[in-house]
Symmetry: C2
Subunit: 334 residues, 2 copies
Amino acid sequence: MLDPARRRPVTLHDVAREAGVAVSTASRALSDPGRVNVRTREHVQAVAKRLGYRPNRLAQALPTGRTGMLAILVPDITNPHNFGLVRGAEAQARAASSTLIIADTQGGPELETAHLDRLASSVDGFLLAASRLSDTELQDLAERLPVVLFNRRVEGLASLATDSADGSRQIVEHLAALGHRSLAYLAGPSGGWSDAERWRALSEHAAASGIGIVRCGPFPPTLDGGPAAADVGLATGATALIAFNDLLAIGVLRRLAERGVPVPAHVSVVGYDDIFGADFCSPTLTTVAGPVDDAGRMLVDVLQAGRTPEPVITLPTHLRIRNSTGPAPAPPGG
Amino acid sequence: MLDPARRRPVTLHDVAREAGVAVSTASRALSDPGRVNVRTREHVQAVAKRLGYRPNRLAQALPTGRTGMLAILVPDITNPHNFGLVRGAEAQARAASSTLIIADTQGGPELETAHLDRLASSVDGFLLAASRLSDTELQDLAERLPVVLFNRRVEGLASLATDSADGSRQIVEHLAALGHRSLAYLAGPSGGWSDAERWRALSEHAAASGIGIVRCGPFPPTLDGGPAAADVGLATGATALIAFNDLLAIGVLRRLAERGVPVPAHVSVVGYDDIFGADFCSPTLTTVAGPVDDAGRMLVDVLQAGRTPEPVITLPTHLRIRNSTGPAPAPPGG
DNA sequence: CAAACAATGGCAAACGTTTGCCACACTAGG
DNA sequence: CCTAGTGTGGCAAACGTTTGCCATTGTTTG
């Protein structure tokens, strides 16, 4: 057990007694400056400082209902993609003098619900990245607490998403320009909003450009998902593989290297997210980048603003072209 | 402002009223089962369930003094090295049905103090990774709350560290075996405990093996620190560069590639931490690996155990040899 | 000079729990 | 039949704050 034998912290009562005023006066002297005489105020503040008084935030939260804490739920702390998001959110939370709680949902709704239940009474709002909850569950939650979604859209809820549809368009155009006529999409977790979005846009734009595209998977969106995805993708005969995210794409790259398949000479590979590592893996990865740090910051902003109707924001993306994509190989019969 | 117009949550009072018992009885029916008649207990539990009662954890924390929250402070959320730690800690915290709060100190003591002050009243204990606070500040803190340190040693405090001294020994032996006679250490933040440890062990073992080693830097321990570090390291004429951590090492690798310096033919490069990316950068990085996930889990365990005297644990490390190290180049005069 | 008003401080009730203690009823032992 | 014990429920005080309201004083205004 956590050892309870510690120094008792200084409370507002201690300050009030030492300063010779009532607790209410002490409280106001510290948090509602205009409300008390400047002399008493300064006196109380001096005493508080001398005693090393630190307000108990839990006790503060009880009557006010504001805890000064925000929670962010991400599917996978391990995915560097989320680093930027978390970092941005942390920075903005700090700027708003809130504390950020981070929790990992393992990409599943069970853990997500568990965290939500456990945190609901302790936070001022939730930032949900790539939530796997149903629309109604989310709407329900939003009735109890402020909620803002990242990379997920639900009727009536505030949300922020990177424009992966446009990213998908850029991918298809890029590959088409390089002469590719047959693509394979290596899907991420089924049921995911982003996966659906990306696939939808990819297939639309491919169709519009008269290019073939097939969908493979789903695969776990991790480095370890790479080998299976690479093998399946290659077997389709496509000349370019589009992975659900960079983690998977890098895994694919490694598998291809292992199998001696030259990239991009034989196949091109593209990912989404532009994660840490995408610029120094081998070959460096062509990928769709979005302003994730900004996204983190904006999520916090939106949460704090609490406007109605809830804002729905789309962040621009752009294709960062590196060495994993190149001209399509000449057809074997050519 | 966060919109306060939300559904009022169900409280214990509501449950008690609906069940026709006193609040105290309701409380006990839910949390102290033996204390109340089985019939009332079941009745109360049924009512609580029907009403969708969720205890307010803040209110619970006030009288009990236990919040069920643990905080971990890391110098840099962005460093993938920390993510293993965070993930392990998160997992173990969850297992102990605690919630983990994560905060970024930007590697500086100011922010660290700020977070500590702000969180002190809301958590049951602190996990401090690579703390930059003074020994006395830490001992002071430990008097108020349970604290456990990671990669830092302070008299009287619980701490966990990866054995980077032994890792350093392995590096020197490895490089010596490859014929290197002149090394350069590219230092991390000055004043850091890990940096001091690593340098101390490196220079000791180098001296013992009759090998020359110089210390360069400090450099920021990030990818961006790489270029400066690479240039300075190269200028020393050393045949092997040992970077404070992998982030810096990968930055060095990129700079060397940019300058057309072949690795390991011309210089070898080594890092510490075995972070995400070390196995797919180019060339892949030789580095000192430690069980970081385990470390995260153990940190939580130690915190919860609260034994006296405080345990001081050292975790084994091992050198993961990859392609960034090779035989020393023949001396130019050779 | 009375009346209204602003400035300032304190009392006490909240916020939602937990828990020490007392009261009551019933059972068992003498 | 009295006493002691046990099982069960409730009252009320905590935990450390905030805040609505009242009381007191001093200051204007008509």
